[in-house]
């Protein structure tokens, strides 16, 4: 169990790697959430401008 905040960030000197991995995860999952919703909204907008 990690006890204090500095130990969490530092993680025995290898904190950079762990947090980099977490960043990669959040980034790629975020892209996977952002792209479909943007596509959906784009189709709605196109339909609207085409007057359907």
């Amino acid at each position: 169990m990690i006890n204090n905040l500095s130990a969490i960030i530092y993680m025995d000197g290898n904190g950079l790697y762990v947090w980099a991995c977490l960043l990669v995860l959040i980034l790629i999952l975020g892209i996977n959430i952002y792209l479909p919703s943007r596509r959906l909204k784009k189709i709605y907008k196109e339909n609207k401008t085409n007057g359907l």
Partner: protein, 243 residues
């Protein structure tokens, strides 16, 4: 639920719940693993990457199996929605495999000293990624999307048949060439304190997959049926609800 418009309406109501549940379980698993699990005596705190790397790898392979099952349904019973499911799942599977590759590489730097090692697991994950890109590339290159769905059904069926062969042969290939300085110890014997958060993480990742799949599938359905009246009605409903 086999008909796309019905699925779309059902998922519009279910999506917020799915998002909430998946984010909750995912966060519980990640926080437990990264902050509260005990420190490994060999690797220190770096091993915590396992809570990102292993679930991503598991998901990467399970998604291909999911795509193969949907592919079988598409080819045999010509169900439209299972074809769209394959296409929606493919990019998610590729993303998870990519996460597994990148985090595996980042994990390797402090523990093995290099950014990449041609060991059996990383190599077969790389090949899995190539299979995903082949499927995505084939689908995007065909203009008729129903035909494209059936084409990637065939490809995912071949993929699932060949994955065990690839894994076995890569395992064998690696034992032949394994340099004796590396003794790669993977997860197997883990203390229950470390194992439990991993299970929760895997569950959380599966729920996240369900959420992402639903989002992708909704976008795909609307894209394919954008000229139908139910889509424009949906948009008007949304506008009403937003106001």
């Amino acid at each position: 639920m086999g008909s796309p418009p019905l699925f779309f309406q059902w998922s519009s109501k279910a999506l917020p719940w799915l998002a909430i549940i998946s984010i909750i379980v995912f966060s519980i698993g990640m926080v437990w693993g990264i902050f509260y699990s005990p420190t490994d005596y060999k690797q220190g705190d770096v091993y915590r990457i396992i809570y990102i790397h292993v679930p991503s790898a598991i998901l990467g392979q399970s998604i291909l199996m999911f795509m193969a099952i949907c592919g079988f349904i598409t080819v045999v019973w010509r169900v439209k929605i299972s074809g769209m499911l394959i296409k929606s799942a493919a990019s998610i599977g590729a993303s998870f495999t990519l996460i597994a590759l990148i985090t595996g590489s980042i994990w390797g730097k402090p523990t093995w000293g290099t950014w990449w090692v041609w060991d059996a697991r990383l190599t077969s994950t790389l090949i899995l990624f190539f299979i995903y890109t082949a499927i995505i590339g084939l689908h995007s290159s065909l203009d008729d999307k129903t035909k494209a769905d059936r084409a990637i059904s065939i490809l995912s069926l071949v993929g699932i048949a060949i994955i065990p062969i690839i894994k076995k042969s890569v395992d064998w290939w690696y034992t032949l060439h394994q340099p004796s300085t590396f003794t790669l110890s993977s997860a197997p014997s883990m203390a229950p304190d470390m194992y439990q958060p991993l299970l929760v993480c895997v569950l959380g990742f599966y729920l996240i997959f369900a959420f992402l799949l639903t989002m992708n599938l909704r976008a795909e359905i609307v894209f394919r049926e954008k000229n139908k009246t139910w889509v424009s009605k949906q948009y008007l409903n949304r506008q009403k609800n937003d106001k």
